[in-house]
Symmetry: C2
């Protein structure tokens, strides 16, 4: 497709989405839920078609030499399609955020001011690999009364397009205009550039993917972006930690799924626990195939197989079976390390000292802070949000797992009886 | 000052602010309130000094030929200084938003998730003319636990600097670090550019001023911006309006203070009321010195002195005694006109029909929607927020009058007893 045709296609798409979004604000919860249930049903009913289209992507992926991990993320099968359907049903079960009166103010002059939750409008989602993002985002977008524009990665093009076409068909005959779901049917990178220029029609962009994609989006648009650069998550084993608990949590945070953003990348240990805690902990991690990179203090305690950590290690998102370890003198040093090298995503303290946990909560500048639990819980589903559009490491608008509420804004509705300003 | 020196100064300033902001999150409400009370006291106690410094600005302003309206906005006198002090005391009276538990989620696995309101961090405010913005923003910034960086307009330089130096002195001996208030002591436009590059240290920029300033800020920073381009406010006189009430409200919305963003710029009138309503209404407005520009229908009803409105008029923020008037066929046409030409700021419907008011509330995409009241009430003080940092016409983060809550974000504090992810 020529760039001019691509531009015409995308401009038509965003205008349709904008037009659809105006009527979306008026759609009743029962109508939205009925559509989501129908979508869940037709996804499962069209399982064979989806798997057939997915095979095209898998074949291309193998030919291109995608890693096994990526091929796995890309694969659709009966179980995963059921999972996508279940996610839509979970979204049905969650309370409709639209219309919620968040606050009521009665002024001395009699004005009644209601702060009411409303949809944002048109939300563009730019994502890579996993095809379930397509149906998750359609579900969250519709339930929160928004029109969504989907731009998936080229490696999942046929899968995403098939999911989209089935979901869009499910809108026919409902009160939700079909324009409320849009899919950029092009693998051309230029399509992203054109979409990012549509600030007149698109209210929010959520990029999901690697840091490169996200920086590209931020640098090339005036549309507000809610983003997540990376997850450099820490666990701090404090001086009053239950060391058995610390062992189990750190092991889980590093090993259970090392390739995701909420996995631990750096473990901080108070000096008074280090000699008791580190040998067994590092031994267990090494046995599970984790490469450990330690500070000098760590290496003086555990001599076998611990590489020297460099300054670069403290700011690295490994997304792999690698862990940096540092012994610290006190809570303040741990907090300072996290605020300096962390990514404002998820950080944990293991302690029985409530006072220290409170200081950690107040002083670490991250979206999700844990006491005595694994950072791996940072996830819309684990938080009870049904699904997630993404995890925000921004501080404005939405922070942490972003789901239905993150796709809403508010307006003030002011009821008067003729009041004028003096 | 050379650009290099200016850069050094600003980088030092933002680093100090960042360092101060970490301890700000720990400051108790009582400490913050005591400081605000002291600030209110020292402002009034230093009245003569403030007025003396303000005279320097006024002298320069007159020499430069500033309009009377601008000179008036710039002027400090005893009453206005008392007003600034009162605004700080009003901020004392408002509940501290920090630490508020916005939501509690108990998960089946026993995890207790608390969504807790926190400061944003470092907030930069770039503003023009009125010196009271300096103390209003310091008050709101400190109460919400943020460090603030102030960059005022050059026309109010001496006034702003004097207010700042008095407020900053009031921090000495308190638990709030003096670094929490920063003032860019330069009238060089390059200072703004340098400040806008500090995305590593500054979490939010709020520009207050003309559309040119705001576009410049948005186009030159990666820091999130909460902004307000313009206020093209509408009042729609619906077919079931109480026409006497409509008359009073429209007159107020246009005439009481035409130069502000929440004044009415376009009046829409349902065709069935037009012949009864327009002659008296337009007569009264013209008598008050308002120039009326009407659609053909309006001009066929009121023949005297009504100019023809052009397409450009519907999208114009006059900020002056000028009003565009359009007769519409129905509610949908009014909604469509507002969503097409408005600025998402404040719009009103005058009606006794609850159903139409509801449709207006749901379908008009603006921050503040009124039924039977003047749009002039869109204001932090009138909403009971004590003061305002600005009025946002954005849809993300903060919308409408932005005060203490608009200067906060949240984090999730998750309490576990050793939970790990399965």
């Amino acid at each position: 497709m020529s760039n001019k045709n691509l531009e015409n296609m995308i401009v038509k798409m965003v205008k349709e989405a904008k037009a659809a979004s105006s009527s979306m604000a008026l759609v009743k919860t029962s109508v939205k839920n009925a559509v989501l249930r129908k979508m869940a049903k037709v996804l499962v009913a069209n399982k064979d078609y989806l798997i057939r289209e997915n095979k095209k992507d898998l074949k291309a992926g193998v030919a291109q030499g995608l890693s096994n991990a990526l091929i796995d993320r890309l694969t659709l099968n009966g179980k995963r399609i059921k999972g996508m359907a279940q996610c839509l049903l979970d979204t049905v079960a969650i309370k409709d955020p639209i219309g919620e009166v968040m606050k009521t103010i009665k002024r001395p002059n009699g004005l009644l001011i209601k702060k009411v939750r409303t949809p944002i409008g048109v939300v563009g989602i730019i994502y890579e690999s996993r095809p379930n993002v397509t149906s998750d985002c359609v579900g969250l977008g519709l339930k929160s009364g928004n029109a969504v524009i989907l731009k998936g990665g080229k490696e999942a093009f046929y899968s995403n397009k098939a999911i989209y076409s089935i979901l869009r068909k499910a809108l026919r005959g409902s009160k939700i205009p079909v324009g409320a779901i849009q899919f950029v049917s092009s693998t051309d990178r230029a399509a992203v550039n054109i979409l990012l220029q549509q600030d007149e029609y698109v209210d929010l962009i959520v990029p999901r993917g690697g840091e490169g994609l996200i920086r590209f989006v931020v640098d090339n648009t005036r549309i507000p972006v809610v983003k997540h650069y990376k997850g450099i998550c820490h666990t701090y084993v404090a001086k009053d930690a239950d060391l058995n608990m610390a062992h189990a949590i750190c092991f889980n945070a590093k090993v259970q799924r090392p390739g995701v953003c909420n996995a631990m990348e750096t473990m901080l240990v108070h000096k008074v626990c280090a000699a008791r805690f580190l040998p067994r902990m590092i031994g267990a991690l090494q046995e599970a195939g984790v490469e450990v990179r330690g500070c000098p203090e760590t290496r003086s305690i555990v001599k076998r197989g611990v590489k020297a950590a460099t300054l670069k290690d403290w700011g690295e998102e490994y997304l792999d079976k690698i862990l940096s370890v540092k012994v610290v003198n006190n809570l303040d040093e741990a907090i300072d390390h996290i605020n300096t090298f962390g990514s404002r995503h998820s950080d944990a303290i293991i302690t029985r000292n409530k006072h220290e946990a409170d200081r950690f909560f107040k002083s670490v500048d991250s979206a999700c802070l844990y006491v005595n639990a694994s950072t791996r819980f940072t996830d819309g589903f684990e938080f009870g949000f049904g699904a997630e559009v993404g995890i925000s490491t921004d501080k404005l608008h939405a922070r942490g797992p972003m789901a239905l509420e993150g796709l809403t804004t508010y307006k003030y509705e002011i009821h008067g009886e003729g009041q004028i300003r003096q």
